[in-house]
Amino acid sequence: MEVPYSAGVHHLAVADGSDCSLMELDLDKHLADAATSIEGAANLDALSEVDTVLLGKKSLITAAKRTLGDLEPDQRREVGGHLNEARATIEGLVASRRTELEAATRAVRLEVERMDLTEVDRGRRLGHRHVVTQTWDRLEDLFVGMGYTVAEGPEIEDEWHNFGALNFPLGHPARDMYDTLYVDYGEPQSTLLRTHTSPVQIRVMEAGEPPFYSIMPGRVFRSDTADATHMPVFHQIEALVVDRDITFADLAGTLETFTTAYFGAGFTSRLRPSYFPFTEPSAEFDIQRPDGSWLELAGCGMVHPEVLRAGGLDPEEWSGFAFGFGLDRLALMRHGIDDLRELFRNDHRFLSQF
C-alpha cells in the first residue's frame, strides 16, 4: 500500500490502536498541535496528562511506530527516523515546559515562605560561665599542658594545715599578715576559713608520693571590708612542684614560661626578695606589661624545709617551689574590670557580658 510522502510534509500511515487501521497523519500539524497543548498546560499535573496523550502508550506517535513493521525496510528507516525526531521534539517541549512550570511553582512557594529574619532574631541564647570560672579553667588548661595535675582542699580548714604545717608557729607575728576568720567548730581558733590555698600543698604531700607537679585553685577568705580591690571572699591559685633537684632557677623559669603562655609574648617577669614563712628563699613575682609598667602578681619561693617535713618529706632528698596568686585579679585584668565587687554582685548585666 502506498503511503503518500513528500518532502516538507510528513504523511504517515498510522495504525489505530484498537483496530490497527491506518489513517493519514500530518506530522507537522501534529507537532504544532502538540506544541499548543504543551504550552497550554497550566500546571505540572496538566502537563503530565498532555505528556501521556502525546507520548504515552495510546498516543499517535506510539501507534504509528507500532505500524512501522508493515513498511518496506527503506521506508521503515525513513519514516521511523521522522517519528523518532517528532518524539524527541515533543519530549523536548514537555521537558522545557516542565522546567518552566517547576520554576513558577518554586517561585510561588518561595514567595509564600518569605521571612524577615531580623523579626525572629531573638530567643535562644547560651548561658555564660562566670568570668572567674573562665579564668580558672584557662589556668587549669595551661598548667595541665605543662604537666601539672589539679588538687583541691576544703575551704574550712584546720589551724594546722593553714598555719602550723606552713611554718607559722602559734603566736608567730606573720599570722597577723592574714586577717583570719574563725568558725565555731571544735576547739576555739582550731578551725578557720582558709586564708590562702597553701594548705592544699600540705594535703597534696600528705596524700601521695613525690614527684608533685600540682596546681591548687580555690576560694579563700579574709576578714576584709569589700571595696574595689578587696573582698572577704576571693580566689587564688597555688602551684607546688616537688621533685629531685628542683632549684630557684626552676622557679624563675617556670614563672617566665607561665607569663609568656598566659599573658603573651610581650610580657616578661622578675623576682624580688620577699618573705613568707612557708618558702625560703621567698620572692615576689612581678610581670612587666608591654608598656614597661610592672605589676606585682604573685608570692613564691622554694618550699621551706620545715614545710617539706610537715608534709612527711626529707628536705635533703626532695626540694621544690611554690607560688600563688589572686585569680580574680587576672579576670579583672583580662576584661578591664575596675571593681572586684562586680565579680560577686551577680548583676545580670555584668554576667551576660562574658
Binding site: G127, V144, M146, D184, S223, S274, L343, N346
Partner: protein, 784 residues
C-alpha cells in the same frame, strides 16, 4: 620604713640616679612603695600664723582661716582641713605659687568665699606622706619667711619602703644603708658619737633587776643630767617631719630620731620620780593598773610585761608605753634613759591587747638588735648634747635571754643546689661578709655567725636566702623543669566541667554569691538554722556559713528583679558547709549545684535535671514527690539516682519567695554533687544498633491524678522488656470526656528486636502485655 637619701649617705657613700636606687632597694627586698624628690619647688610657700578660724557659711567641709603672712594683716584662706588651732604656724602657698605637682595657686572663690592661697599638707610639699591635715610648723619659725629658708630644707630623695616581717634590721636607716652599700659595693660605717661624760656614775644612781629573763633579754640604763626641754634643732625636726613624725620636744625627738636611725626604741624617766631609783622588770599581776602617757588608766593582765620601781609600783608597760607618774616635764633635770630588748611575742600580745601599737612596739615585735644599745645610748647623748644634756659615765646593763647565735654550717653544694647557681665557697663568703654575716671557711663549706640585728636568720636556708638576695635574684638563670608526671584533670574535675557546660548550653548564667549569710537567711529559705558560724565576723551579714546555695540564689534573683531584670535562669556550683552527723575533724563540706529559673514552673526545672542526667550519663534516676521545707509542697520531687537521694527538683515555696522579695515563680533544682558524682555515671557499655525495622504504637491511659506518670512508665517498661526500645509521654489531657480527678496520659512506644523483624503477632502480644500491666495495677484504663 621611710628614709631620706641624705640620711642613708651618712652611713655609706651610696650614689646614683634616684630611680636606679629605687630599683636597687626593690631588688634587695625593700620594695619602694613611693618615692619623691623633696625640698624642691617650694618657692612661694611661706610661714604663716593662724589668726582666726571660722566656719564657712555655705560648706561644712571647708573652714575659713585668717592668717598672718608677716605684715600683721589678716588674709582669708579656705581650707578643707581642721587640724590647726589659732596661733599655729602653717605653710601657705601664696598666690602665683606653682606647686610641685604643677598646680598654680590663684585667688578664687570657694562657695562664695575668697581664698587667697592654699594651706599645705605634708604630702603637698613633699614632706612625708600625710595628706589628712595641714603641716603644723615649729612655733619658732619666723612668720612670713619662705618655708624652705625658714626650715633649712635641702633637696633630697624620700623613699617609703615596704619592710618584710623577717627584716627588723631594715626598720632603721642604718639597716637600709647597710643593704644598699652591699649592693653597690661601697663601705658601710656606723656613727661613732662624740660624747663627753661627766658626773656621778650611773651604776651608783640607779639599779635594774630582771625578774623575768624571757620577757626581757637586756635592759640597759644610763643617766643624762642638765636636761632642758625645748624645741629640737631645725635639721632634726625636719628629718622627723620628712619621715612622718611630728616634732614634739628635744627629748622625745631625739628618742624618735635614734629609733629611726638605729632601730632602737628608748624610754626616758624623770629619775627623781622613780621610787628608789630602781627598775624591776617583771610580768604584771592580773588587775594591776597604770596610767599611761596618754592619760588612760590601763588594767594589766599576767602576760603583760612591766617596769616597776623599788616599791613595786608599775611605772611603764614594757615596750609599749610609759607611765604618767615618771614622765619627764619642764622641771626635769636628770633623766634615766632605758634601752631594752623585749621578747617579741610578749610585746606583740600586749600591744595588740591594749590597742597601743606604735613605731616602738613594731620594732620590738619584729625583733630588735639586742647589741645596739651601747651605740644608741651614746648617739642619744650626742644629739641631746646639742641642748646641753650631759651624759653621766657608766651604764647599768642587765641581761635575760636573747636568741642564741651559734655558727651555722652553710654547705656550698647546698647553696648551689637550692639556687641553681654555681657560686664558689669564697664568693658566697664574700656576699655574706658584705652584710656582716661573719663567714669562716670550714673545708668546702662555711660556718656563718649571723649578726645580732638579724634574729630571723637562724638556719642554713635562712642564710642561703641572704646569699641569693645579695647575689641578686635577677642574676640567677632561668630553667624550666620538665614535669616528670602526666598533666591531667581528675574525673571529678572533668565532671564539674560537664555540669557547667550543660548549664551554659541550656542558657543559664553562672552566678557566684559570696558564701556568707546573715543570721536568719537560712530560716527564711526554710532550712535548718543550726549551721556553722563565723566567730569573728566583720559584720553580722557575713556571720553564717551557708548550708545551702538557696539563699544566695534567691537573693541574686531579688537583686536583679529590683533592677528590673526578671525571668533569669541562673546556676551556681559551690561549696556548702554542714555540721556533720558524726564527729569529724572538719565540717561536712560538700559541693552543690543549684539552679533557679525565675518565671518558670517546676516542669522547666525537671527539664534541666533531665538534661544534666543526660550530660553525666546518669540516666537511672527516679523522681518521687516530696515536700522538703522551703520548696513548693505540691510541686517538688526528690531525685534518686540508683536508689540514692541526690537532691530536689521543683519550685521554691511561694512563702519563701515572698520572704526574699522575689516577685515571680521560681523553678528550682538542687543537687548534691558530692553524692551524685560518686554514684555510677559516665561511660556505659555500648549497645549495638538494631538493623531490623521497628514498630511504633500509641497507648493513652486514663489514670487517677495521684498516680505519677513515672509509675505508668515503669509498668510499661517492665512489660515491654527488651523489645521496648523507646518510650515517650507525648500528651497529657484533663477534662471531659476524661473523668474528674483523672487525666489521660498518651505514650508512644517503639518496639524493636536486635536480631529479627518483629511479627505482627509479637507486637500485638507485647502491646497487650503493656496494657494489662498498666490497667491491672494502677486503676487505669486504656482509652479507645
Amino acid at each position: 620604713m621611710k628614709v631620706l637619701l641624705s640620711w642613708l649617705q651618712e652611713f655609706a657613700p651610696v650614689d646614683g640616679d634616684p630611680t636606679v636606687i629605687a630599683d636597687q632597694l626593690s631588688s634587695l627586698g625593700l620594695a619602694v612603695e613611693s618615692m619623691s624628690i623633696v625640698g624642691e619647688g617650694l618657692d612661694g610657700i611661706v610661714v604663716a600664723r593662724v589668726l582666726e578660724l571660722g566656719p564657712h557659711p555655705d560648706a561644712d567641709r571647708i573652714q575659713l582661716v585668717q592668717v598672718d603672712t608677716g605684715d600683721g594683716e589678716a588674709l582669708q584662706v579656705c581650707c578643707g582641713a581642721f587640724n590647726m588651732s589659732v596661733g599655729d604656724l602653717v605653710p601657705l602657698a601664696t598666690l602665683g605659687t606653682v606647686m610641685p605637682d604643677g598646680m598654680e595657686i590663684a585667688r578664687r572663690k570657694m562657695r562664695g568665699e575668697w581664698s587667697n592661697g592654699m594651706l599645705c599638707s605634708p604630702i603637698e610639699i613633699g614632706m612625708g606622706d600625710d595628706h589628712d591635715g595641714i603641716l603644723l610648723l615649729d612655733g619658732n619659725l619666723e612668720v612670713g619667711h619662705p618655708l624652705a629658708e625658714a626650715m633649712d630644707l635641702r633637696s633630697d630623695v624620700f623613699y617609703d619602703l615596704e619592710v618584710n616581717p623577717n627584716r627588723p634590721d631594715a626598720m632603721s636607716v642604718a639597716g637600709v644603708a647597710r643593704d644598699l652599700a652591699a649592693w653597690q659595693g661601697v663601705p658601710f660605717t656606723l656613727p661613732s658619737p662624740d660624747v663627753l661624760e661627766s658626773g656621778t656614775d650611773a651604776t651608783d644612781r640607779l639599779s635594774v633587776e630582771i625578774l623575768d629573763p624571757v620577757l626581757c633579754g637586756r635592759f640597759t640604763a644610763r643617766v643624762l643630767d642638765g636636761i632642758t626641754i625645748g624645741p629640737s634643732p631645725t635639721w632634726l625636726a625636719n628629718r622627723l617631719t620628712a619621715l612622718g613624725m611630728r616634732p614634739i620636744n628635744s627629748v622625745v625627738d631625739v628618742s624618735n630620731y635614734v629609733m629611726l636611725e638605729l632601730g632602737q626604741p628608748s624610754h626616758t624617766f624623770d629619775l627623781d620620780l622613780v621610787a628608789g631609783s630602781a627598775f624591776r622588770v617583771r610580768r604584771a599581776v592580773d588587775g594591776e593598773t597604770i596610767v599611761t602617757l596618754d592619760g588612760v588608766e590601763r588594767t594589766l593582765i599576767a602576760t603583760d610585761g612591766v617596769v616597776a620601781d623599788a616599791e613595786d609600783t608599775v611605772i611603764g608597760i614594757a615596750g609599749v608605753m610609759g607611765g604618767v607618774s615618771t614622765e619627764i616635764h619642764d622641771g626635769t633635770t636628770s633623766v634615766a634613759l632605758e634601752m631594752a630588748w623585749w621578747d617579741p611575742m610578749s610585746i606583740a600580745t600586749s600591744a595588740r591587747r591594749l590597742g597601743l601599737r606604735s613605731e616602738a612596739s613594731a620594732r620590738f615585735e619584729k625583733g630588735a638588735d639586742p647589741e645596739v644599745a651601747d651605740l644608741a645610748m651614746r648617739r642619744f647623748a650626742e644629739l641631746l648634747g646639742e641642748t646641753g644634756a650631759i651624759l653621766a659615765p657608766g651604764m647599768v646593763d642587765e641581761r635575760g635571754q636573747t636568741p642564741q647565735r651559734e655558727p651555722i654550717r652553710v654547705r656550698t653544694d647546698r647553696v648551689n643546689k637550692m639556687l641553681g647557681t654555681d657560686l664558689s665557697r669564697d664568693r658566697i663568703a664574700e656576699l655574706l661578709d658584705s652584710i656582716e654575716f661573719a663567714p669562716e671557711p670550714a673545708g668546702d663549706d662555711i660556718d656563718v655567725v649571723v649578726p645580732s640585728f638579724r634574729p630571723d636568720s637562724a638556719t642554713e636556708i635562712d642564710v642561703i636566702e641572704e646569699v641569693a638576695r645579695i647575689h641578686g635574684y635577677g642574676a640567677i638563670e632561668r630553667t624550666t623543669p620538665r614535669s616528670t608526671i602526666t598533666g591531667s584533670l581528675t574525673q571529678r574535675q572533668l565532671d564539674r566541667r560537664t555540669v557547667r557546660t550543660a548549664m551554659i548550653g541550656m542558657g543559664l548564667d553562672e552566678v557566684m554569691p559570696i558564701p556568707f549569710l546573715a543570721p536568719g537567711d537560712l530560716a527564711r529559705a526554710g532550712l535548718r538554722v543550726d549551721g556553722i558560724t563565723v566567730t569573728n565576723p566583720l559584720v553580722a551579714e557575713e556571720s553564717v556559713m551557708r548550708a545551702s546555695l538557696r539563699p544566695g540564689l534567691l537573693a541574686t534573683l531579688a537583686y536583679n528583679a529590683s533592677h528590673r531584670m526578671t525571668g533569669l535562669g541562673i546556676f551556681e556550683v559551690g561549696h556548702v558547709y554542714l555540721l556533720p552527723d558524726q564527729p569529724q575533724p572538719l565540717p561536712d563540706e560538700r559541693e552543690h549545684l543549684a539552679v533557679a529559673l525565675a518565671g518558670s514552673d517546676a516542669a522547666a526545672a525537671v527539664g534541666v535535671w533531665s538534661a544534666l542526667a543526660d550530660a553525666l550519663a546518669a540516666r537511672d534516676y527516679t523522681l518521687a514527690a516530696d515536700d522538703p521545707a522551703g520548696l513548693h509542697p505540691t510541686r517538688t520531687a526528690r531525685i534518686e539516682v540508683a536508689g540514692t537521694a541526690v537532691g530536689f527538683v521543683g519550685e521554691i515555696d511561694p512563702g519563701v519567695l515572698d520572704a526574699f522579695g522575689v516577685p515571680e515563680r521560681v523553678a528550682w533544682l538542687e543537687v548534691d554533687l558530692e553524692i551524685l558524682l560518686s554514684l555510677p555515671h559516665g561511660d556505659k557499655p555500648y549497645a549495638s544498633v538494631s538493623r531490623y525495622p521497628s514498630s511504633d504504637i500509641d497507648l493513652a491511659f486514663e489514670v487517677d491524678d495521684d498516680v505519677p506518670a513515672v509509675e505508668v512508665e515503669d509498668r510499661l517498661r517492665t512489660a515491654g522488656g527488651d523489645l521496648l526500645v523507646d518510650l515517650a509521654l507525648f500528651d497529657v489531657f484533663r477534662g471531659a470526656p476524661v473523668g474528674e480527678g483523672r487525666r489521660s496520659l498518651a505514650f508512644t512506644l517503639r518496639f524493636q528486636a536486635a536480631d529479627r523483624t518483629l511479627t505482627d503477632a509479637e507486637v500485638s502480644g507485647v502491646r497487650q502485655a503493656c496494657i494489662e500491666a498498666v490497667e491491672g495495677n494502677l486503676s487505669a484504663n486504656l482509652r479507645g
